[in-house]
Amino acid sequence: MQASNTLWRFRGVTPTAMLAFVYLYLPIVVLVVLSFNANRIATLWTGFSFDWYLKVMDNDNILRATKNSLIIASGATVLATSFATMAALAMAGKRFRGQAFINAMLGLPLLVPEIVTAVASLLFFLALGLDLGLLTVLIAHTVFCIPFAYLPIRARLEGLDPRLAEAAADLYAGPFATFRRVTLPLILPGVLSGAMLAFIVSLDDFVITFFVAGAGATTLPVYIFGLIRMGITPEVNAVSALMLLVSIAFVALSYWMGQRKS
């Protein structure tokens, strides 16, 4: 409606926006295209090939790293989403003392630069005498996944009529029955999108994992980083392209789900 009106055509806005979209997608497109390049020199196009993907699928290290990534992302997602759901339920109730403090604490993992969180976690685990491995990574991921899971659930609860839970209690439903039969079904889209965000964020994390992973718990991004540092190769292109596609698929899925629910 507004776009059709010439009044609203601000000079330079359209070209800048076009530039922004090209800028955002050019590297992604180039990476995906080059991952199908037959040539051993990764940036020189000589022909189409699927070989590098086959090589990636055949690489034990990559498979192991993928498995670690999935284990950690699943674990962190389940823990963070459960904790965040509980916290969101409490925060949605009557105001209470200390609420601002808990809010600030929930904002902390989003606010503090990753490298600081990484250093602090590393020093903490070492001071405790914990061996760096899957457990330390799982703990660190759960921590920074909580706010990502929390925000959509909290937003969903914000739009929920508090009278519905009261009506359930009025009709003899105890706290668990109220949650299972009324609250959860109604906030489920928020919980799912929170879980999805937590999963993507965990899957994508590099800096914190890099610090607290130790040798046994290499995740896919950490492994890719190692490969990149050794040089640009077609295998890196292929595994990077795969990683991108998985993330894009997830975002599209969560978008589609959000569309359907509303």
């Binding site: 519905l164 009025d170 009709l171 109604l186």
Partner: protein, 361 residues
């Protein structure tokens, strides 16, 4: 069909919000009994504490002091899901993800009824609220009036000892509201359940209730039948809040009501036990206007035509304003125009002497 057993006993209940210096007393020592099988209404302007009181009965608010008893047993310490009372919420609060029949079955399920027992009860309640064909619909597919009926059926299904209704009709338009008023009264008669109804609409309260409690600023102003409340308001607030009222200052002496320069009327005061200054309340429909008859002298200040009737605002000769209502049963003929000198006479018993004589509160 009002029994004499007390269903709910509200025993000097107080509600304090906040603490220390900023504490607000939302309910101030409310004491009243609600009898079995009666249609009891809590009436008052918004913020008077009536909804808070209802929520305390349902268990959504704690009692700061005092006690609420249901058939003699204290409700203190009982959580909402442990109380055999059900609520019809102002916004209905129907579960949007459940169908109409699932909504109605909810309370029965939670009480552990078997599915085979639930079905006939749900069908019966749907019939009661005349929604039998709507069992599989979702709440958002229903009109406001239908949602209202579902909310009623849902609250009635577990056969509560007391049904609480929180401003339940205020979301409906005028016509539908009138229909539902009759409907609610019928449901209450048929089910024989005690209804506690909260409203700010005095007409609604007068229409439906067996008894009314008028509240203001956290205090109970008067409890009584609609006739009591309308004809014998306990104080200025009740007289003002219910119906139209003119307040006049007069002098009672020797069976006469004197209004200074306006003249006097004889023996029109309900309570004339003692002489002296009197704060008086009078309903506009109990006064009569004439151009040449007897009565208090005054001048018409304004004429408001309202279809069924016309209201004349008369400035009495002693300076006090008063309203007179004239029914237009013989067409819209005007008795007087603005500026006309008129006489105001009163029907027997028109003037009600207010308790706080001399105070202008």
């Amino acid at each position: 069909m009002t029994g004499n057993r007390v269903a709910i006993e509200i025993d000097h209940v107080c509600k304090r919000f906040g603490a220390g210096e900023q504490a607000v007393l939302a309910l101030d020592h409310i004491a009243l009994d609600i009898r079995e099988n009666e249609f009891f209404t809590l009436l008052g302007p918004s913020g008077c504490g009536k909804t808070t009181l209802l929520r305390m009965i349902a268990g959504f608010e704690d009692v700061s002091a005092g006690d609420i008893r249901l058939y003699g047993a204290s409700l203190t310490g009982k959580l909402p899901f442990q109380r055999p009372v059900n609520t019809v919420f102002q916004s209905y609060a129907l579960f949007p993800h459940l169908t109409v029949e699932e909504n109605i079955a909810f309370g029965l399920e939670m009480r552990g009824f078997k599915p085979t027992d639930i079905k006939p009860i749900v069908a019966e309640k749907l019939e009661l609220v005349k929604l039998s064909g709507f069992a599989r619909r979702r709440p958002h597919q229903l009109s406001g009036g239908q949602q209202q009926r579902v909310a009623l059926a849902r609250a009635l299904a577990p056969s509560p000892r007391v049904l609480l209704l929180d401003e339940s009709l205020s979301a409906l338009d005028l016509k539908l509201r009138k229909e539902m008023q009759v409907e609610l009264k019928r449901l209450q008669r048929e089910t024989g359940i005690t209804f506690v109804f909260v409203t700010h609409d005095q007409e609604e309260a007068l229409t439906m209730s067996d008894r009314i409690a008028v509240m203001s600023a956290g205090k109970l102003q008067q409890v009584g039948s609609p006739e009591d409340i309308y004809d014998r308001p306990a104080n200025r607030f009740v007289a003002d809040f219910i119906g139209e009222t003119s307040f006049l200052q007069g002098q009672v002496a020797e069976g006469q009501l004197q209004f200074g320069a306006a003249g006097s009327l004889s023996c029109q005061v309900l309570d004339q036990s003692h002489d002296g200054a009197a704060a008086l309340a009078v309903r506009p429909e109990r006064l009569q206007l004439s151009v040449s008859g007897s009565g208090l002298a005054g001048v018409v200040a304004e004429v408001v035509y309202r279809g069924v009737d016309t209201v004349y605002l008369v400035q009495l000769a002693d300076g006090q304003p008063c309203r007179v209502r004239h029914t237009n049963d013989s067409g819209a003929s005007r008795l007087a125009r603005v500026g006309d000198a008129v006489r105001v006479a009163a029907l027997p018993g028109a003037f009600h002497r207010l308790q706080e004589a001399g105070h202008d509160a």
